[in-house]
């Protein structure tokens, strides 16, 4: 019985943990290392850390911080934020990261995907795309932390990334981010159906039921969420949480693939 991965996405602004709504209004949540310790206790499958300001501030996610995360985390984790060359990737892997996430740099220089996949292996390179709908409801890939429209169509970009050697595609919906109203299931499904590599759904999960739908309807093999794992209740009190393996197993119990 296959179970998809359930992955907390922790957004960094420098060294603090924040959470956004539609990529805006970052709210300070706490200390990332403290969150790692709690997710250790809760036995999270994997963690994703993204420095959301790195690309547009022309810097890279802090190697010092990634080293501290690596010292603490029991589970594999992926890191992203402003990473644009193999040297940076090497120092982040050495700091303990299991996977590298590239976004803006991959769009600007698609060859980076191939170089990284050949050097470090496809399984450790994740291409993340931030997607926003136009006024005419067409999906477009945005870069620089959701600041710039590239006019690229997400399905095309996913197929190209996969061809270049990406190991996974992370589809992040800017419109759904922080809304906790469900993933953009159509978008996730379109991307997932277009590639043979695993897809990570991100943006909008508000309940465990959304994970089930992301897997069954969206055909994502990993379900990521931010707000759901750091907020509790309608007033969004900060409370780090994560479902137990028994809960996850029950959730997907009737699902067969």
């Amino acid at each position: 019985m296959f179970l998809p991965r359930i992955i907390p996405v922790l957004l960094l602004k420098g060294k603090g943990l924040v959470k956004t709504v539609r990529f805006k209004d970052p709210r300070y949540i706490g200390d990332p290392i403290n969150a790692v310790r709690i997710f250790n206790d809760l036995k999270a499958d994997e963690l994703i850390f993204l420095d959301i300001c790195a690309s547009r501030e022309n810097r890279v996610i802090s190697v010092d911080l990634v080293t501290s995360i690596g010292d603490e985390a029991f589970m594999p984790f992926a890191v992203g934020g402003g990473i644009s060359n193999l040297r940076q990737m090497e120092s982040l892997f050495r700091a303990g990261a299991e996977k590298i996430i590239i976004n803006t740099a991959a769009v600007k220089n698609p060859d980076l995907i191939q170089q990284a996949a050949e050097y470090f292996g496809s399984q450790s390179i994740v291409v993340c795309m931030d997607v926003k709908k136009t006024l005419w409801k067409e999906n477009r890939v945005w870069i620089l932390g959701g600041r710039k429209n590239t006019d690229i169509e997400p399905v095309d970009w996913a197929m190209k990334s996969a061809d270049l050697g990406a190991g996974e595609i992370m589809v992040n919906s800017i419109d759904q981010d922080g809304m906790m109203a469900g993933y953009d299931f159509d978008l996730v499904r379109q991307v997932s159906d277009a590639v043979s590599i695993p897809v990570i759904a991100c943006g909008g999960a508000g309940s465990l039921e959304d994970f089930k739908q992301g897997f069954e309807q969206g055909r994502a093999h990993a379900l990521a969420a931010g707000s759901l794992f750091v907020y509790h209740g309608p007033r969004k009190a900060v409370l780090v949480n994560y479902p137990s393996k028994a809960d996850i197993s029950r959730l997907f119990d009737k699902t067969e693939i």
Binding site: D45, G70, Q123, G167, S196, R219, H221
Partner: protein, 202 residues
Amino acid sequence: MIHIVDYKMGNLRSAQKAFKRIDITSRITADPDEVLTAEKLVLPGVGHFSRAMNILQSTGLADALNQAVMVLKTPILGICLGMQLMTEFSEEGFSHGFGWVKGRASKFSFADSILKIPHMGWNRLQICSQSMILGDITEKDFFYFVHSYFVNCANPENVIAQTEYGNVFVSAFQHENIFGCQFHPEKSHDAGLKILKNFAEL
């Protein structure tokens, strides 16, 4: 003391950290002499089969491992690619492995894109025969898998657990002092730690 063989592929820290959590000392080594004198060995690995085999051969680690495993009968646990390297052959790079366990590694191939490659996520074991290493493990436990190639054993008696993902494959095997698991016990939380503990206490 467990020696984790370092052939410059994959994140070895996670294996070492997992042993530390169950209070077992481990040491990462790339020294053939240390492999020969090790009490127990772990052969980890993420990456490409033929590249791994080439590195093991060019560094002298392959000779030391053959001696330790086949002559000195040192207990060894192969994880993921490490397990596949223990077989005779892999379709990945069409390369020969150590051949300690009769069998080979083939690539997953699915007609439909619903089943993604690699098999990356959690899955359970169907336990086929009792092995010390699976002590206290039940068919309800979930383990963390990341692989595009899977093992088939030529001798069914070597198969101690199998798992289904599109097709049924060998998720754990044993042949005398040689143990292999396709999943990552070091990334599988409590159930995985149990396996590492079982191996350490052999």
